[in-house]
Symmetry: C2
């Protein structure tokens, strides 16, 4: 029997999805599982997108152009201009989700052995796509005590070698919710310029910034226009993760040319998804504002609630809809597993993502979890309650057990 | 400015899509372009699939499981059983088109420097996905004089090295329309067994076999069940290329485990596409038979017509909906370009795929083109006429020009 590739062996299991079989077992036992592990919002897809799907007026669902439908790309030009991101339709390549945009960016820019630097905790699939490309991710730990701010520039410079090809950021950040400020973005710009690097900037959460601080796109940074590759997706913005429509945006002609060859190899992004994504751009301001306000409320409610539980600490996330919280447990992996396999509170339990999956060294974040606040407030209230109860009885809990008065 | 990866530079341009800008220019001049270059059928998507899309009863278009919706996978088990392909839902992983299935198969089985052997002319994107994986494609030319039959086994054996990890076949074949017979399939099986190789078998055209000869799946070959990776897609079967739904099917647990990690990294295949693909499996026998009969007629009409044109030769394809024909021209790349940029006949022209893109050595197939018979008979009649007229006036034509009697 021939063996799989080393790459196949090295590919990480998704930290978000690896506990799914345990969750399925819990559900089979009649336990309600609250999913805080995955960025799958419970909010509705825009009615415009659903209508576009229901009113599809084609009888042949054919390939679209490899780089995406031009009407969608034109409409995105207008969308980005509202964020002072000035690009043309030629700069926008439609991808099968933001995932494919990351994949094509890495495949186009990184050769086996090339290195990229990523502040962590980081979205786990960056590492997966780097491994797929044969590239090496070097990470710098952003500390929970600093609220996950950008690590100092000299930490980056220590990692730079002749093989360093780029820096990858996610802003607003998944998993931490951190939003880089002007000073931090300028530091990144200066590094990119000084060492002639690519800047891969995942900005899919741009519409979710909560503190009044401005969203600064990589495309707002002067002098690195040719270095910048922006990753985008409609998944989170419009609650339509299943469409699998994203975009890779670059002004670098050589990168574009390479990415388009990868696009041609996979023929076309999904047609119906593109039609729905285009309609989503017409979502009403009310729809967008309602979603936004919902997250504002959930964020406040969740973070307040977490920090009220003994031994739990969450920094206040400034954007996206995640937080990385520190729990009073020996090991978050064990705790998350235990929640699904050995615990229930009134026939309910939680599914969380152990933060270890967001660090390259699994010892980092050993007592941290990522929580996605994608459930409504009542559900979050139930979740906080379940978490509190679980920490009382989890064998590896560091919180003093409550002695029951019988 | 940082430079793109060598891989990005090595990625081939699609031979099917690279002439698109010229076609667009011709259209802008008011010339009708008949598309024989791409396997995009003009037949309708099953009404069941369109209805499933139009009646979608969800308000949140969320991620599906990474390996695909279970109801679709279960239904495919039944579908494959009709072809004596006995697999379970666990063996079927839903991919974003057959393209992603090839990509994940190569990424999971081939490391940089590993080699696979492919009889050519071959579907161009196999090479693209091999390059993406850092693997090396070694090719053996199947000759037009032999009707593109499987080259002799000793030709394969000459190419086998310690780095050889697999053989890739497409059966029925794109671009040649060749269908491997039992003897040929047994030879492939014996090679796979003897050298402990993977067999990547792209069988997306299984429903299009025209000669009464049986379709023999790689899964019909005994003793190599653990070596076999089947690539499938609903695109061609149901005229729904734009859905981007395919499948990777394997009984090899190690391969499965690796492929699922690649699936998790890209989160989920398209949701709406899966819903429509599942409904497509209910397409009526009449719908399937009408499509089949349509191709039977087109095939007969096209191949007869081609072989009647002076200097043109096409073997008789036994399956799929392509043929590779030899034209009386100096260079098919030049001819195909010229058709779009310098020729018109009664305000019409043709778009063909130069066969050079289906060979690794561009000198092979220098006078060959791939023709997809995806247009209705009247259109094919017009195409044959245009081809005949074009060959009369093309500067590099080897056919004696007709002297006009004024």
């Amino acid at each position: 029997m021939p063996t799989v590739s080393n790459r196949g062996k090295m590919m990480p299991n998704s930290p978000i999805r690896k506990l799914v079989p345990l969750a399925d077992k819990a559900k089979a036992k009649g336990i309600k599982v609250y999913h805080l592990n995955i960025g799958q919002p419970d909010l509705q897809t825009p009615p415009e997108a659903l209508a576009a799907i229901r009113n599809i007026d084609r009888n042949i669902l054919e390939y679209s152009p490899s780089e995406g439908i031009i009407s969608l790309r034109n409409k995105l030009v207008h969308y980005y201009s509202k964020f002072q991101i000035n690009v043309t339709a030629d700069d926008i390549i439609i991808t099968t989700g933001g995932s494919e945009a990351v994949n094509f960016a890495f495949m186009s820019c990184l050769d086996p052995g090339d290195e990229i630097i990523v502040p962590e905790p980081a979205y786990a699939n960056y590492e997966a796509f780097a491994i797929a490309a044969g590239a090496v991710i070097k990470t710098i730990v952003a500390k929970i005590e600093d609220g996950f701010a950008l690590p100092p520039v000299n930490e980056f410079e220590k990692l730079i070698t002749p093989r360093t090809k780029g820096i990858m950021i996610c802003n607003p950040n998944n998993p931490t919710g951190y939003l880089y400020n002007r000073e931090e973005m300028n530091k990144i710009r200066d590094l990119v310029k000084k060492y002639n690097l690519f800047l891969f900037s995942d900005e899919v959460y741009r519409e979710f910034c909560y503190t009044g601080a401005p969203y600064i796109s990589a495309f707002h940074l002067e002098g690195i226009e040719q270095n910048t590759i922006l990753i985008d997706s409609v998944s989170k913005r419009y609650n339509e993760c299943g469409l699998r429509i994203g975009a890779l945006i670059t002004k670098n002609a050589e990168v574009k040319q390479s990415v388009i060859k990868f696009c041609q190899a996979r023929l076309s992004p999904p047609l119906v998804g593109q039609i729905a994504a285009e309609a989503s751009l017409d979502a009403s301001p009310e729809y967008m504002l309602n979603n936004y306000n919902e997250y504002v409320n959930r964020r406040k409610f969740l973070i307040d609630g977490l920090n009220r539980i003994e031994g739990v600490y969450s920094p206040i996330p400034m954007g996206a809809f995640y937080t990385v919280a520190k729990l009073p447990v020996d090991n978050a992996d064990k705790f998350c597993t235990w929640l699904l396999s050995d615990f229930e509170y009134e026939k309910q339990t939680l599914m969380l993502s152990p933060a270890s999956g967001f660090y390259t060294d699994p010892d980092n974040g050993i007592d941290q979890v990522r929580i996605a606040y994608v459930l409504k407030k009542e559900d979050l209230a139930a979740c906080l309650n379940i978490l509190q109860e679980a920490l009382k009885v989890y064998p590896g809990s560091k919180v003093k057990r409550v002695v029951k008065n019988n």
